[in-house]
């Protein structure tokens, strides 16, 4: 954790410098604040009495924040930048930061702190470390609630940049809806007639309709058990990104129970989205009960979200102790109720991976594709797979271990 903050500009006691510095900090934390807004902010501050912190807060927020999802970041940044200074007339800022390590920082705070820190003070972006594979279902040692505030600004920036570069698959499902299309196959009598009226009822050009293509809905089932905990955050980011870009994405988390977090992921800001996810999930990084979770998905949600030719991404390592016929049965049902079932397994990155675990053996016959997913490269591979023409349904293409 960062405990000292050097501001981008040393405090001078001048309101203008402070506001400019504050605007820069906001920009670094991801809120677009242009020079025009800074001038507006200064004018607004001159119009009010700067005796009250709350008034200053409300004024600057009104000028700088244009979207609901930025409010949280603004609040954090404001608190850090203008700490509880007694004398608001000076807007001084020289008290060291309180030690945040003792209490759990709220989401986004790490991002804001890094934005406020000097560039030289910033840590290098932590590399995604390949940790040892845990083959046992973890016990209570693991934190029950993961804190997404620990995600560094650099990491977020890297992931979002990479994800922004990913060309998300579009237009892969023919819908039954038509739109004007010169190359279309269907005659549009209505428009043809209307255009014929210009020539006194003589039909000269034929208007046509073609089918509209739309991306297929995606349903992601994400395993958040202990053995998957290193990947969970990364996946959620990925899912958040595709939720943003595609309209029809449903996301479910399962450990010992199944939770639908589709709505939580709709918030625009990743920090906010992930925080709201983690608060809605009870069994963060406990054990796994894949069969039970799949059963409740099939029973409660399958018919509700698998219509319209959905693609299912099952993200799990398949390490289930109690694998029996029930697991195979539920996998089969899931497979038969969606258009395409893609199993993403981070264990596949080990070259020596073999489907030895009972659960994996049970599940493999029922998937259309089996892919590794543990870093940005494999996510890009997944995007490609989603963009490619779907393979013939129900012919499993199991990749042999390399």
């Amino acid at each position: 954790m960062l405990t000292t903050i050097d501001h981008l500009n040393p405090p001078t006691g001048h309101m203008a410098d402070n506001v400019v510095g504050f605007a820069r900090a906001l920009r670094a934390a991801g809120i677009p604040v242009g020079p025009g807004a800074v001038i507006d902010g200064l004018n607004a501050l001159q119009a009010i009495e700067i005796g009250h912190r709350a008034d200053v807060y409300a004024t600057l927020e009104a000028v700088f924040v244009k979207r609901r999802e930025h409010m949280l970041i603004f609040a954090q940044a404001f608190d850090l930048f203008f700490r509880a200074a007694e004398d608001w007339k000076h807007m001084l800022d020289s008290v060291p930061l309180p030690d945040h390590a003792k209490k759990k920082p709220p989401p986004a705070s790490r991002r804001v702190q890094e934005a406020l820190a000097q560039p030289s003070m910033r840590e290098e972006a932590p590399q995604v470390q390949e940790q040892e594979l845990r083959l046992s279902v973890s016990d209570k040692e693991i934190l029950q609630k993961k804190d997404f505030a620990q995600m560094s600004a650099a990491e977020i920036a890297e992931v979002t940049r990479a994800i922004a570069d990913m060309r998300l698959p579009q237009a892969e499902l023919r819908t039954r809806r038509y739109q004007p299309d010169a190359k279309g196959l269907r005659l549009d009598m209505r428009r043809t007639l209307r255009s014929s009226l210009r020539t006194g009822g003589e039909i000269i050009d034929i208007r046509k309709l073609g089918r509209i293509d739309k991306p297929a809905p995606i349903v992601a089932l994400l395993d958040i058990s202990g053995s998957m905990s290193e990947y969970t955050r990364l996946f959620l980011h990925f899912l958040h990104a595709i939720t943003d870009a595609r309209k029809r994405v449903s996301v479910f988390l399962f450990g010992t129970r199944l939770t639908n977090v589709t709505r939580s992921l709709r918030a625009r800001d990743p920090d906010e989205a992930l925080a709201s996810c983690s608060s809605s999930v009870e069994d963060w990084a406990g054990g796994t009960r894949i069969a039970t979770s799949l059963h409740s998905f099939n029973k409660l949600w399958g018919r509700r979200v698998l219509g319209q030719g959905a693609i299912v991404l099952l993200i799990s390592d398949g390490l289930e102790r109690e694998a029996d016929d029930k697991l195979a049965f539920e996998m089969d049902r899931l497979h038969r109720s969606c258009r395409r079932l893609i199993w993403l397994n981070p264990l596949l990155r080990y070259s020596a991976f073999e489907a030895k675990a009972q659960g994996i053996k049970m599940m493999l016959p029922h998937v259309d594709e089996f892919r590794p997913v543990h870093n940005l490269t494999s996510m890009e591979g997944l995007i490609e797979a989603l963009s490619a023409a779907p393979p013939p349904h129900h012919i499993s293409r199991i990749r042999p271990a390399a």
Binding site: T175, R176, R177, Y178, M189, R190, T192, L193, R194, S196, L197, R198, G200, G201, K247, N298, K299, R303, R304, V305, G307, Q308, F329, R333
Partner: protein, 301 residues
């Protein structure tokens, strides 16, 4: 069909539905009554076969209103849901105008986009005035239509008017009674639900179901109807992929009376299980011991 006034209380609504053989829960009668009073669409969601569509039919019959039904499906568009121009008739009109030597273009276009060339589909029909009072508009299985149609529907349900570019705006003098049903094969958008009164139609309890069977299956013996209802209620407690709805119960009771069954035996149940359970996995689970156990519970006095 006799037109009757709108009920003035929840009890009145209950009576109205009961008089037509629809034995509704009080909560459903309440929400139906409110939707009539407030002029808000009624949004009914629930498992298949619990009587969602039925209530619209019963309402229209009891109130003496016309029932207009729009069955939704994927790709449902304006042409099949709202209106369409009859191109063939228009082309004939153009040719006739030519033959008569009319060359006034503006006159021609106003002539061929007249109301007589308009083919009215259910949603437009529902906006038309009716001597018996505003019709009952049943939008069935909205979840099968796509989001684009839902957005369009939102517009119609808020103003009860349709704008046809070549023709003008048609507004309902009196908004229809709208009932929307959904089987939840897809979640309906919040914006649409917000405009409606929402009700989840659940399976009835044993007592109500028994009353329903008795009123819907005339000639069924008291003993058999009781066993049938007990058996079905026990099935719903099992963890089936698709539990039988009320419609299935009525079907099954009818099937049993057709076969002259006096009471449930393993043989008869095994032969007619297809009227109740519609998934092979579920039927397979209902063999042997499970069947015996449920049957024993249902037939014990």
């Amino acid at each position: 069909m006799t037109a009757s006034a709108l009920p003035t209380s929840v009890d009145g609504m209950l009576e109205l539905l009961t008089s037509r053989g629809y034995l509704a829960e009080r909560s459903l009668a309440t929400v139906t009554y409110l939707s009539l009073r407030m002029g808000r669409p009624l949004f009914l969601e629930g498992e298949a076969g619990v009587g969602k569509t039925e209530i619209a039919k019963v309402l229209s019959a009891a109130l003496g209103r016309k029932l207009i039904r729009l069955q939704c499906y994927e790709g449902l568009d304006v042409a099949s849901a709202v209106y369409e121009w009859s191109s063939a008739a228009q082309m004939i009109a153009i040719r006739l105008a030519e033959a008569a030597g009319d060359t006034d273009r503006d006159q021609l276009s106003s002539d061929i986009f007249a109301e007589r060339f308009l083919i009215k589909r259910p949603l437009l029909q529902a906006l038309e005035p009716d001597v018996a009072g505003a019709p009952v508009l049943l939008i069935d299985e909205l979840d099968r239509a796509d989001e684009a149609f839902e957005a369009y529907l939102l517009e119609i349900l808020s103003d009860f008017q349709v704008t046809i570019p070549e023709f003008g705006t048609i507004k309902a003098p009196q908004p229809p009674i709208v009932i929307i049903t959904s089987n939840r094969t897809r979640e309906i958008h919040d914006a649409l639900k917000r405009r409606c009164l929402y009700h989840w139609v659940d399976y009835p309890d044993a007592e109500r179901e028994l009353a329903i069977v008795k009123s819907r299956v005339p000639g069924i013996s008291a003993k058999l109807s009781q066993q049938v209802v007990r058996f079905v209620q026990a099935l719903r407690d099992q963890d089936f992929y698709k539990s039988p709805g009320v419609a299935e119960t009525i079907d099954w009771a009818t099937a049993l009376t057709e076969l002259d069954a006096r009471s449930l035996t393993p043989q008869v149940v095994g032969d007619t299980l297809g009227a109740l359970l519609k998934y092979q996995d579920d039927i397979a689970r209902m063999q042997g011991d499970t069947l015996q156990k449920v049957l024993k519970e249902a037939t014990s006095d």
